[in-house]
């Protein structure tokens, strides 16, 4: 049918849209030699001026990693990764410091501007308070090739009792907290990539929100891979005490390159009684070109534990980038009445592959979880939702609702749904629904007969398809996410 052909053509055209963030920042880097062995781990620990216990922790992880095999159960295909052919440490030569803008390389500031960090970026990084307005300020920690270069609003946050700093600072300044919680949700040998991260992570963010404190602003991290052949391994640890809450935003970009770059992050969240953590990600790593050359391999372990009663962890992700995405942000619902949420949009185009989803592990009574996953596949891409809902024997009256919808654009892509549902408690209730369809020609024609171009119509319908997820994003991010969907599928909402 001609309409179908035209949709496909439109999509193919979209596939050619260039990666807007594919610039390279010209900053002098201090780079460790290629390769990975115990000496690499020692070098990282030494450069980060870490205490001995941290080095031991890393070595333990490294030794477990040596014994482990790369997981192969995901629906992903890629040439073998040579873990010896990457730099495991790279940092801007000029000494970074969060205290004064003068210490930040002007190139870096220009990078932020190009990134379009949806904030009052320059002012923020310069430490200027925003004008009085209805908008909440946002604190930013920018991680540049796995080194934190600036953490804004640190002082304001400190007054509220909130610690928000690079994890390497936390290791030195808050060793007790780090010792207690690091690896408590994702143990060093949890999986191949988590073990690798534990051994070689170079930076990331640390957040601690004390009892009863609502974090006065959104916390935000920007991750960017810049140097050639570097792996990026950030580590994030967020601890929210009783009755406290935080909203955390994470954005990612990387320059356009021919070769694949490895990214393996670990995020751990801990929520005590009545605490709430909202973790939002817009992942826009370089996806490779339209022939499938280059792009980031993104193997991420994200897990939160609702330790306390009535605590809540909510993951929202918009995944448009990376050549390969392997990512399952999960919730362990250990506190009675705790809540886990997962809202996801995954868009793949060209030769991208995504295998992403979540695990909701219900351990305690009256726990609730919601999963809304929207998958859009175009071009030659493959996208898989993989999820686990497990009701353990003690999860009396637990509830889960899962909705997975896939949209296929063109006949050369694939969309897959692989849910695992396991229940060991008769009073627990699980409901799962999944659909797969394509953009209807009726909808496209309706929009076009009202004057919208084919691309705009696709964008509008896709954004509508993702609405339930996009509305979960904080305002600042929602705008950016919509923009990203536009670029990934070149439709616009106007």
């Amino acid at each position: 049918m001609p309409a179908v052909t035209e949709t496909r053509e439109a999509v193919e055209k979209l596939a050619k849209s260039s990666y807007e963030w594919g610039f390279e920042t010209d900053i002098e880097m201090d780079i460790a030699p290629k390769g990975l062995n115990e000496d690499t781990v020692r070098l990282i620990s030494e450069r980060k001026r870490e205490p001995a216990w941290m080095l031991e922790w890393r070595l333990k992880a490294f030794r477990s990693w040596l014994e482990m095999k790369e997981p192969d159960w995901a629906k992903l295909k890629h040439p073998p990764i040579d873990y010896q052919d990457a730099h495991y440490f790279a940092q801007p030569k000029k000494k970074p410091g969060p205290k004064s803008l003068d210490e930040v390389d002007p190139e870096l500031l220009r990078t932020y501007a190009k990134l379009g960090i949806p904030l009052h970026e320059q002012a923020l990084l310069a430490g200027v308070e925003p004008a009085e307005g209805e908008r909440l300020p946002v604190a930013v920690d920018a991680v540049f090739d796995s080194v934190s270069v600036a953490t804004t609003f640190r002082k304001t946050l400190e007054e509220a009792g909130v610690i928000f700093c690079p994890i390497s600072d936390a290791i030195r300044e808050h060793p007790d907290l780090v010792k207690q919680y690091l690896g408590s949700v994702v143990p060093v040998a949890d999986n191949f990539f988590a073990a690798l991260n534990s051994a070689v992570f170079t930076d990331g963010s640390f957040v601690y929100v004390p009892k009863g404190v609502r974090c006065p602003m959104e916390l935000s991290t920007y991750f960017r891979i810049n140097a050639r052949n570097t792996g990026q391994f950030e580590r994030t640890l967020i601890i929210v005490e009783e009755r406290a809450s935080v909203s955390y935003l994470e954005g990612c970009t990387a320059p356009q390159r021919d070769e694949n770059q490895l990214h393996a992050a670990v995020v751990e969240l801990i929520a005590m009684d009545d605490a709430s953590i909202k973790y939002s990600t817009v992942q826009n790593w370089y996806p490779g070109d339209d022939e499938g050359r280059g792009g980031i391999y993104n193997f991420v372990t994200k897990r939160g534990i609702c330790r306390g009663a009535r605590s809540k962890i909510s993951w929202t992700q918009v995944e448009t980038g990376s050549a390969i995405t392997w990512k399952y942000p999960s919730c362990v619902l250990a506190g009675e009445g705790s809540i886990g949420e997962f809202y996801s949009v995954a868009v793949t185009n060209n030769h991208q592959q995504a295998d992403t989803g979540t695990k909701m592990i219900h351990l305690a009574p009256n726990t609730r979880s919601t999963i809304i996953a929207k998958t859009i596949s175009a071009g030659h891409s493959d996208s898989t939702y993989r999820g686990l809902v497990r009701m353990q024997p003690k999860a009396r009256n637990a509830r889960n609702f899962t909705q997975c919808d896939s949209l296929l654009i063109g006949d050369q892509c694939g969309a897959h749904t692989v849910p695992y549902i396991e229940s060991r408690n008769m009073t627990a209730r699980v409901e799962h629904e999944a659909t797969t369809s394509k953009i209807s020609e009726d909808q496209l024609f309706y929009c076009r007969s009202r004057g919208l171009s084919q691309e705009d119509a696709v964008g509008l319908i896709v954004n509508g398809f993702c609405r339930e997820v996009l509305k979960e994003l904080p305002m600042e991010f929602a705008v950016e996410a919509q923009k990203l969907l536009q670029i990934s599928l070149e439709g616009s909402v106007g």
């Binding site: 179908v4 159960w73 009701m391 024997p393 896939s406 296929l408 654009i409 063109g410 006949d411 050369q412 892509c413 694939g414 969309a415 897959h416 749904t417 692989v418 849910p419 695992y420 549902i421 396991e422 229940s423 060991r424 408690n425 008769m426 009073t427 627990a428 209730r429 699980v430 409901e431 799962h432 629904e433 999944a434 659909t435 797969t436 369809s437 394509k438």
Partner: protein, 398 residues
């Protein structure tokens, strides 16, 4: 292997023993018996079968066969064909007039499916038939009976329906003792053919049942199957079906009623390999005591299979604190112009409904039965043949 089955000292028995020993080493040297690390068996442990797979049983005589068969309800009309401990019970078996017996043929080894691998290594005997073009062969009851201890059978059946032919197959499985039944069916439905395959699996409580059904459905043909999975210590009914030409239609429906310490498993792969095909699947599982239920249903839609309409629903009802359900409904889709959906629910009986019935004077146990029956009924209604539906209902509540 104890001396018992070799005790007859017939050379045939000895040959069989040697053959089985060789097969055992082949299987074990190859894939081995899958552990729970193997994705397809993560919910269904097979440890228990290792003890009983390898011994061959003595054939059953007609009287024992008849006694066993009478343990379940089976159609009084139509033809009956019986395998007792893996051998045809000729005195009780007959085929419909127009149905031809054929020779066994080489089949797809299905190497990634353990039930098929095991059958491939040890399989012998079975029913190979062909229903000629445009013949309606009516009803055939195929009874697979077992009696004994630590024995296994691995029947190979082949059912070919030529263009426009039709057959209703009642597939009855019952036995006594400790055994493994590992039948394989290869079913080929030519253009416009229709097979109704209604199965009652009511194996003994210490038995294992690993059935593999491999079905090819050509254009405008229909494979309409329903399985009542209700017996065995460990029982998997596994269907691999390919919709090979436009307007093929497949139903893989079923009900699993699992109690005690039993585990019942319904695993299916519905492969849409041609455009304009439909598949429908409804599977309901009721679990009590410390029983475990498994549902693994995959719908695979090839790139060429545009305009596929696939629907799958699986629901589980847990009646006890210790029962367990593991469900994995899966969609793997490579064509864009499709309508595929699945739904799954897991839960207990609805307290409000229970209360409503009790407040109207229905005793609790009876009220539960009413609600469980109601839960299963809409799946059972998918059995198109009313008489067979009644038989299954009897089996369900006997």
């Amino acid at each position: 292997m104890s001396g018992q089955s070799v005790a007859g000292q017939t050379s045939a028995a000895l040959d069989a023993f040697v053959e089985r020993a060789a097969a055992r080493s082949t299987v074990l040297a190859g894939t081995g018996i899958p552990t729970r690390r193997v994705e397809a068996w993560r919910y269904t442990p097979l440890r228990s079968i290792t003890e009983i797979v390898w011994k061959e049983a003595a054939p059953l005589d007609a009287a024992s066969a008849k006694n066993l068969l009478d343990k379940i309800a089976y159609p009084a009309n139509g033809h009956l064909f019986i395998f007792g401990n893996g051998r045809e019970v000729t005195s009780l078996s007959s085929l419909p007039e127009n149905v031809l017996r054929t020779d066994a043929e080489a089949v797809d080894p299905l190497e990634d499916r353990f039930s098929a691998v095991l059958n491939g290594a040890l399989g012998r005997d079975g029913l190979s038939i062909r229903v000629p073009k445009n013949v309606d062969a009516g009803l055939l009851t195929l009874a697979t009976l077992h009696q004994g201890s630590a024995i296994s059978t691995h029947l190979r059946h082949r059912i070919v329906l030529e263009e426009g032919a039709s057959l209703t197959l009642f597939d009855a499985n019952v036995g006594e003792g400790e055994y493994l039944s590992n039948p394989r069916f290869d079913i080929i439905l030519a253009e416009g053919a229709r097979l109704r395959h209604v199965k009652h699996q009511s194996e003994a409580e210490n038995a294992a049942h690993l059935a593999i059904i491999n079905v090819e459905v050509q254009g405008n043909a229909e494979y309409d199957s329903f399985t009542l999975n209700g017996g065995g210590a460990v029982a998997r009914h596994e269907v691999v079906t390919t919709l090979a030409a436009p307007h093929a239609l497949v139903h893989v429906n079923g009900v699993q009623v699992v109690n005690g310490t039993r585990l019942n498993d319904l695993t299916s792969m519905i492969h849409h390999a041609a455009p304009d095909c439909n598949s429908r699947q409804t599977v309901k599982t009721v679990l009590s005591d410390t029983a475990q239920g498994v549902f693994q249903g995959k719908i695979l839609v090839d790139r060429v299979a545009q305009k596929t309409d696939g629907y799958q629903m699986n629901q589980a009802l847990l009646l006890s604190e210790k029962a367990q359900i593991n469900s994995k409904p899966e969609l793997e889709i490579y064509a864009d112009d499709v309508k595929c959906s699945h739904g799954a629910t897991v839960g207990a009986l609805d307290d409000e409904q229970l209360f409503y019935l009790r407040s109207r004077g229905v005793p609790e146990a009876e009220a539960r039965d009413i609600l469980v029956t109601a839960f299963l009924t809409d799946a059972l209604e998918l059995v198109a043949d009313e008489a067979l539906r009644e038989l299954l209902l009897k089996g369900l509540f006997s």
